[in-house]
Symmetry: C4
Subunit: 242 residues, 4 copies
């Protein structure tokens, strides 16, 4: 069993930085209206496989209010989702979604952050098991095409994690709508995964409202694929500060 | 007539703790968008029947703004909804919904908290007198199935309280949509009842939006009952900190 | 021409109290989501006809942001909507809706406060020129029946004020939806008029959402008139602190 | 290449004032719900052609969070959208929409401010490529008629800027809905352009909701053109403080 206090000091420092970041990023979920009560979570990967033979995960504790989060209350797990003993006085249980997060980290090395919410409009598309068509330039920018739907997951095995990986591995979209459940998003780091969760809800909402117009949305057309490709390439390479 | 200052000191202390909790929980109603103006209320049971022969209720004063609530302004009543004389300078009248809350406490011993709101989407389903079908995993988690509808209540008798108890007694769901009126929720304590009110509005909103898709919602299917059972059991027993 | 500094001291004091109240109440408009930018206003009547032969009105200055309001920036007018010279360094122009407010005060003595907004859902019903049917107990409580529609007003005469008075005089509802324009609400004082504006938007939103259900809202039925009467009487006489 | 520190002192002062204004105005975008994450931007023209032969533009840096904006982080460009060397330690890249803003300033001398957002309802109309009909008095006031749609823009040339100018030059409306993209608004100064962005979203939302009524919105009629003209003239000339 891994014990945090016995790991190399530089790994302990990486964990501490990651806990502060993950704790702070949770504030973005209620801020952008993605969650109510405690129903959403952010995790990040600590890249320390070289030092200790395995990467670690930092994730929200289960059922704790967003107001009550702090860096030291973030839970540290291994890539099987097992909690690391960390010497803090509280013995908090990690999010009940930890197995799904862990499966994604274990099977997609490029992923540095994972977010799960039940944000309203994305979850509505998930309940319809309907991919969100790429009809907005901002969708082309961020998702590079439609946002896909994942399978209905069963309880008691790793079917949620497997469903996410099957859909997103090799896909441009950093978001998947798990059927009758809600969106999971990934990113190179936790901040990118949070951004994808915010943008996923925004486009889910905008496209649904676009289709509620007088003609039942028949004139809401998917963008031309070459325009989508051009927008996606530009956004991934030119946008932001470099 | 019960007089608060003449009750045993430990009961007075229980009441004081309960007043602070109920006062603070009212802030969650505007925070999560469940209420406008003064139109919603939270109550809690003080379990003191062993000491004084009856439990007591702590509830919001009628028509007072959420900004102006404080522990000492919470009103103490008995299980018939009659106000307890409490020696405070203000003589505030309890919520006009007190009789309904009191009826629930008197007839459902497991209930420790009750919440009533007119939250928009739950009230819209109530106006249609339509139960919310269980099409989301988060509904299976929290409600264990559909959210049921209660009867139209008449004025001047205990028909609201009776309607709530008839529907919720023996039901998994902690929420009932009273026809053309709005949701009432219950919980083992007031915090759980507030959580149920928050989740009730969220699923009411998400399921309605899910059904507003291009096909009129025909592909929004209820979850398989065995999946619902598995999710409900897991959530009630595993979720959160223990 | 009336000059504020030359009025009896007790009238000046009434005006000062009223300015503070009207300034503070404007914060409720953005708080409850009724307005964007500067597009809504509150006024109140100063009952001083006995002292100076005419009541006065206190109202928002035109085009000033809600952040920049203060008691001394509230504008004082007579019942013809003419500004009173008030000796303050700023010479602010009253709201461009002042004529409509003034007409209501001049013709409905029971009115102590008037509010005008373009709140989204109420304005949507106004654009359809469709009264809001009384299908919710909270509508029966506050409005005593349906919320009526007023006429399309022309520019350059007192048609808005006349339209409001024609509809609301003798009506239970404190709100009227002016066609293709938005809601005006009245009250015994400005706070009651603000409350009516908040509740008007809430029921406009809830009833519209109720009718967007799977059956096109055909099962959203108006409440029985005797139930409406019972609820309205109880709410007007029992609710709140007395 | 223009270097800010080498420009005349009065131009440097104009730039400093403009940076403070543009930085502060960005707070209005999340405040009124027009943007998520970093997806919207404000710019202003510095009128200094007399002094240095060309006007300048102040605009948001690309991909920077609204929380992290400050006057000195605003980027200064010329009317070709090329960044001015400004001697500040950070070398921030201007918004990826700078070319579109610059094109508008270069071709419409009356424009002093430009705003771009993906606000939800305006973008939904843009996805349907449907102008917003003038059915509300507040639309007549602010837009003087319908809000028009602009062309689908290609990547890699000045097609967005050209599309905006083609539609808005000579048009009363300060807003254009760029197809499948989102709204751009203009104004005599940046504050007016922000106001137009706020009002554009509000009317996009209200008109869409008006048309979602029981009859599919068939009774939502455009206002009489002479009423629109009267409202527009009055609002442009009488409203506000003068």
């Amino acid at each position: 069993m891994l014990v945090l206090d016995e790991l190399p000091v530089e790994v302990q420092e990486q964990v501490a930085v990651c806990r502060a970041e993950v704790s702070a990023l949770h504030a973005e979920l209620p801020r952008w209206g993605l969650v109510v009560w405690t129903a959403g979570n952010v995790s990040a990967r600590v890249r320390c496989a070289e030092q200790i033979g395995t990467d670690l995960i930092v994730i929200k504790p289960s059922g704790v209010s967003y107001d009550d989060l702090s860096p030291e209350r973030m839970v540290v797990c291994d890539l099987q989702g097992r909690k690391i003993v960390d010497g803090t006085p509280e013995r908090l249980t990690p999010s009940s979604d930890t197995a799904a997060h862990a499966y994604v980290y274990a099977h997609m090395d490029r992923v540095g952050g994972v977010v799960h919410t039940h944000s309203t409009y994305a979850t509505a598309w998930a309940a319809r098991r309907e991919p969100i068509p790429c009809v907005l330039t901002m969708m082309a920018d961020e998702f590079g095409g439609e946002i896909p739907v994942g399978p209905v997951a069963v309880i008691g095995d790793d079917s949620i994690g497997r469903g996410i990986v099957e859909v997103l591995d090799g896909h441009r979209s950093p978001a998947v709508l798990m059927a009758n459940h809600g969106p999971f998003t990934i990113g190179a780091d936790a901040r990118q995964a949070v951004k994808a969760a915010v943008m996923c809800e925004e486009v889910a909402r905008t496209v649904q409202i676009a289709r509620e117009g007088q003609d039942g949305g028949k004139n809401v057309q998917a963008l031309d694929p070459s325009l989508v490709d051009g927008l996606y390439d530009r956004y991934q390479n030119v946008y932001g500060q470099h």
